[in-house]
């Protein structure tokens, strides 16, 4: 009985890893697209996003099945409930990666993107997502804590971009709409960072049983 349950838990784990790597791929593609709008792989992001949604449903069903059939307690229960929360964060990451890709498609002034910190922010966000999935895969508390901390870097970058843009808009008013797109993209990155942070926190919760945030307060 327990063996079967363990197997199902491992299956859940594998599905989560797959979903996590899909998210990584989605955001990486979106960033690639941002750096090189002529890239024809836009539809790729759409496909990945669809896959992410599909995976979310699958994992949700699996979690429900586990909860109902096995009635887990303690750590097992935490693992499953945090999986349920994690997938919604992952799904949001996928959505926002798609949004970024959608906007990048119409960004014809890629030189602007090079002038501000958006590239740096993209890298930082990718790093956060990758690290948060890593911390989940390795069940690594330290890595999870590092991700939570790294969110500050992404937030700072967002603030920087926010202060950079108005001055540039003034100088280059005919391209104003792209600047607005850029600030939205930056905001998306910032949100993705937050979701990655959430994932890391759920990893922490599933291991320790308490939330870092609550402990600090």
């Amino acid at each position: 009985m327990r063996k079967r349950f363990d197997q199902q838990l491992e299956e859940l784990n594998v599905e989560l890893i797959k979903m996590g790597s899909l998210c990584e791929r989605a955001i990486r593609r979106a960033v690639e697209l941002l750096q090189n709008p002529e890239d024809t792989r836009v539809s790729d992001v759409d496909r990945i996003e669809e896959e992410v949604n599909h995976k979310e449903r699958e994992i949700e069903t699996l979690c429900m099945k586990l909860l109902l059939q096995q009635q887990p307690v303690a750590k097992d229960l935490r693992e499953i409930s945090s999986a349920l929360k994690m997938i919604s964060d992952m799904e949001r990451i996928g959505d926002q990666a798609q949004d970024i890709a959608d906007m990048a498609r119409f960004m014809q002034v890629k030189e602007i993107a090079h002038k501000i910190h958006i590239g740096e922010m993209a890298e930082a966000t990718i790093k956060m997502v990758t690290e948060s999935i890593n911390s989940f895969v390795k069940k690594d508390l330290k890595a999870a804590a590092a991700v939570v901390k790294y969110d500050d870097v992404v937030d700072d970058l967002f603030l920087k971009i926010k202060t950079e843009l108005p001055a540039m808009m003034e100088k280059d008013s005919k391209n104003a709409e792209y600047y607005i797109d850029l600030i939205m993209i930056a905001k998306y990155f910032e949100r993705i960072g937050d979701h990655a942070e959430n994932i890391a926190q759920w990893v922490e919760y599933s291991i320790t049983g308490s939330h870092q945030e609550l402990r600090q307060e």
Binding site: Q7, E10, E11, N13, V14, I17, K18, G20, S21, R25, I133, V137, K138
Partner: protein
């Protein structure tokens, strides 16, 4: 076992107890019946004596609690009875025992009472005067007797049962304890029951074969892990649920994963898209060989499904690091392309000049000039081909040369002498410092290396620069430092200058001359000698080539 022995002993004791009690009771009952009869007889005899002497008065004195005594006349009329009233009693002449007594002198009878719970024994005796004296006594039957004794009997039964249980448990424990205390690690050393001895022998034998098998299995496992651990290739075995069953450290290294505890999915080792696809496909039963990139290294991954009863039960994955091979292939391709290009350029010129002469477009006085051009290009071709031959020879390691003691200072001096003329063209000063260090090495190759280093230093030097060769001994090794004041080499180029045909400044290669193989010859030559070449350089100021030759 204890339970079973206990039960058996307990049951046996209970059965024995019950049988004993039953048999004893039966025998006793019978015995007491006879005894009673005898007593009645004796009593009657005593009473007869008394009655014959004193008449009926002797009976009057009998207490009421005594045995029932009846005195009957010849005609059957009851004369006396110590229990009932004689007047009201019926005629007893017809009674069995009385009749018998009248006839034979004595008679007995047994009559069951109405309730059947007791019976009355009668003994009648005929006196001398013809009257009959009858004595009777009551005997309870067995059930009634038992009913009367039920309390002590029950108490006894409980006590005896408890005793039996206690003894049974003690005994069974006593029997089983040695069995429990058996030392199964050394079965044959136990000496308790002879009956167990064959079993112990068998256990012993099985234990030995088991030990042997375990040792064998362990040895095989170790062998296997030693083999896989020493493999350069990554090796993974997974089951149908993608769980890792076995892996070696090379696999972890190539996939960039850490060692893990317990059975985890292979995707925790690496979750890149290509790898996921590969795992998925191989578990569908397809043999896969693909090139994937793990951590910036190109790897060839071969995956084979494992079939069992027409179902995929897992997969074996082998990962090969092919970065070096890819690099080698890339370099070979580049080399071929470069050689063809380098060969083609002078050939085209030669062919062109020859064609012009052939067509008669050249004035006779100019022929010499053209011939000179052709000669120069041909020379360049020869140098190039020579260099290529040298490199391939060094590459193959086919240089068959004897080692001899070489004076580095003298060797360097000769080479600089050969280059003097070329140095003068650019007004470059040549310097040579250091002691006469002697090294046992292959002279031809050493000279080749040194020549190319100095030649290089001249080629890329600026006008009126200098070239310094410094010979010294460092930590027992001979060291030659060739320093120029040329254009210098940038950090990125440092890695590549030893490659064949690599030119830092491609646009000026023609003006500088040379084949682009010089430093490549230096590298291969020093490798052949077991020497080490290092470059230090500042862009725009000059470079230092440090050649260290082991003694």
């Amino acid at each position: 076992m204890t339970k079973r022995i206990f039960k058996s002993i307990f049951a046996v004791s209970l059965i024995v107890l019950a049988t004993c009690t039953g048999v004893t009771l039966g025998i006793l009952y019978h015995y007491f019946g006879n005894q009673l009869q005898k007593e009645l007889k004796t009593e009657a005899a005593y009473l007869a004596i008394a009655v014959e002497r004193d008449g009926i008065d002797a009976l009057e004195a009998l207490p009421a609690q005594a045995e029932r005594v009846t005195y009957i006349d010849e005609d059957g009329t009851v004369l006396f009875d110590n229990v009932a009233d004689s007047e009201s009693m019926e005629n007893h002449a017809q009674r069995e025992e009385i009749e018998e007594a009248q006839k034979t002198g004595s008679g007995t009878a047994v009559r069951n009472s109405d309730t059947l719970s007791r019976k009355t024994l009668y003994y009648a005796m005929k006196l001398k005067d013809g009257t009959v004296l009858r004595v009777s006594s009551v005997q309870y039957n067995l059930p009634a007797l038992l009913r009367g004794m039920i309390q002590p009997l029950l108490i006894m039964l409980v006590a005896v049962t408890a005793l039996a249980a206690w003894i049974a448990s003690r005994v069974s424990r006593h029997i089983v304890d040695p069995v429990n205390a058996l030392d199964l690690e050394h079965p044959e050393e136990n000496q308790i029951y002879d009956e167990i001895a064959p079993l112990l022998t068998k256990i012993n034998r099985q234990q030995k074969s088991l030990k042997h098998e375990i040792a064998e299995a362990k040895r095989q496992q170790e062998e296997f892990s030693i083999i896989t651990e020493n493999m350069e290739e990554g090796f993974l075995v997974i089951d149908a649920h993608t769980e890792v069953l076995s892996y070696n450290s090379s696999a972890l290294r190539l996939l960039g994963a850490e060692a893990q505890t317990g059975r985890r999915s292979v995707l925790t080792l690496n979750r890149s898209e290509g790898f996921q696809n590969l795992i998925e496909r191989v578990l569908e039963g397809k043999h896969m060989v693909t090139n994937l990139e793990f951590q910036g290294r190109s790897c060839q991954v071969a995956a084979n499904p494992v079939w069992k009863e027409k179902k995929v039960t897992g997969a074996v994955i082998v990962i090969l690091d092919v970065t070096e091979r890819m690099k080698g292939e890339q370099m070979r391709r580049e080399f071929t392309a470069n050689v063809s290009h380098e060969l083609k350029t002078p050939l085209t010129s030669i062919s062109g000049f020859a064609e012009i002469i052939n067509d008669g477009f050249v004035k006779p006085e100019d022929t010499k000039k053209f011939a000179g051009r052709i000669f120069k290009e041909a020379q360049r071709l020869i140098t190039l081909v020579n260099d290529v031959i040298k490199i391939s020879q060094l590459d193959e390691g086919k240089f068959f040369c004897e080692k001899e003691d070489v004076d580095l200072y003298e060797a360097a001096r000769e080479i600089l002498k050969r280059l003097e003329e070329r140095a003068a063209e650019k007004n470059i000063h040549l310097y040579l410092y250091g002691p006469h260090v002697k090294v046992n090495t292959v002279k031809v190759i050493l000279e080749e290396v040194l020549y190319n280093l100095c030649d290089n230093g001249l080629k890329y030097n600026k006008q009126s620069g200098s070239l310094t060769v410094n010979i010294s001994e460092v930590e027992g090794n001979a060291q030659i430092v060739v320093e120029d004041t040329g254009i210098g080499i940038s950090e990125e180029d440092k890695m590549r200058i030893f490659e064949r045909f690599y030119r830092v400044d491609k646009s000026h290669s023609k003006a500088i001359g040379g084949t682009g193989l010089g430093l490549s010859i230096v590298k291969h030559g020093s490798m052949f000698l077991g020497a080490d070449v290092k470059v230090e350089s500042t862009l725009g100021e000059g470079s230092r080539f440090i050649l260290t030759i082991p003694e």
